[in-house]
Symmetry: C2
Subunit: 240 residues, 2 copies
């Protein structure tokens, strides 16, 4: 069959240019939503419900759900914990459904919802993700979350790392300059992703808030084989 | 004084995030508008009037102006020539005012008009441009034209080349991931920009239309010292 199309979208603000009803959209928000979601499922969470509004998250708490919720790095008073991947320990999340409060993430999922499938991508699940994407007969859009509609480095180099593997499979072709740029940036970053990401704006923001303890963790690969997939407004591990 | 802020905007779709009334905006459209405009002034054009609508361009022709106008690579029947830099020869443009039909370019200039100044940047005028920008006490936004609101490689590596020079001056600082990405991509491209740009989508589009004879020309530096500046809806050489 014809090769499938692979593209990278750098910002939610331009995602409409990448809308493709037959495609699989991979949402990438390395610091920290994608990484936290992968960690939660790796530690046995059953489902994650993305929630946009604080009041909605509070309502889930009243109903007995675990609630992960923060704004600008501060855990909301009614929540069980914030959005760091380190919060989603097996002890806390195994067998539980989690309401995950994220204004940005919820908007991303909403924007991507016209696609055939929406999955979550991170360094943590990159091998399983790329193997699965290669086995599907569908176009793929790597959708970088960015930062307040701006381009960011960490999601882009992750897209580049995914792009490198998918292009190497021989199953994809592209005329997307953003993919070429992502792969070229990854070619620089790959020798030492932790050092490369030092200059990223989000690196500084997390450091300033004392939330940067998870950076190295978020950049590791081979952490989990789970691919979170979004269906009926809920994230679940693919195939479960 | 404090260092000035340097940022790169990858797409007209997100320029509002970079609006800054005190800044100098550098519009970069390497293939081919920025390069054509620099060439026209280098060859003695007096002024260039960016025109959005075809009917408006036709009206300028009736009034006796030179008109450069094409759509999708085809010269419009009433125009004197199309948008290739090679059309703007000294023989044709010296002492003349040119109506330049460009839907995209006109929109870019309009979007940027809230800034303190709007100038045109290209590889062709990079040295004079960077020297001038370094001498101003203003923030700078490098505004990549992109392609139909998408990121493109050629404008980005040009922004990276400009960024490299400005950052080396010690007068600028940044927390802009797009600038870091541009400079990193330029660090790969700079050993052979012509070879690097082979994979750019616009490279293929121009080849398909037989309009790619100007690629190598557009990538050269030190072609002109002129900095086109936009004032009162007209482009003129800075200082003239």
């Amino acid at each position: 069959m014809d090769k499938r199309n692979l593209e990278v979208c750098f910002s939610p603000a331009v995602f409409k240019l990448f809308e493709n009803p037959g495609s699989i959209v991979v949402i990438i928000d390395v610091f920290r939503a994608s990484s936290a979601i992968c960690t939660a499922f790796a530690n046995g969470a059953v489902a994650i419900i993305p929630v946009a509004e604080i009041e909605e998250a509070r309502e889930f708490k009243r109903k007995g759900f675990l609630v992960a919720a923060e704004r600008d790095g501060f855990v909301l008073d009614f929540a069980d914990f914030g959005n760091s991947p380190f919060n989603f320990t097996r002890e806390k999340v195994e067998g539980r459904t989690i309401a995950y409060s994220t204004t940005n993430g919820t908007q991303l999922i909403h924007k991507a919802s016209s696609a055939h499938s929406v999955v979550i991508g991170a360094f943590l699940n990159i091998s399983a993700l790329c193997k699965w994407l290669t086995g599907q007969e569908r176009d793929v859009v790597l959708f970088c979350a960015g930062w307040k509609d701006k381009f960011n480095l960490e999601d882009t180099v992750c897209a580049g790392a995914i792009g490198e593997r998918l292009m190497a499979s021989g199953k994809f072709s592209t005329i997307c300059d953003s993919l070429h740029a992502s792969m070229d940036l990854w070619s620089i970053a790959k020798t030492n992703p932790l050092a490369y990401i030092e200059k990223a704006a989000q690196r500084s923001r997390l450091r300033d808030k004392g939330l940067d303890d998870c950076i190295e963790f978020c950049l590791q690969t081979e952490f989990t084989d789970i691919i979170p997939v979004f269906m009926n407004k809920i994230l679940k591990p693919l195939g479960k």
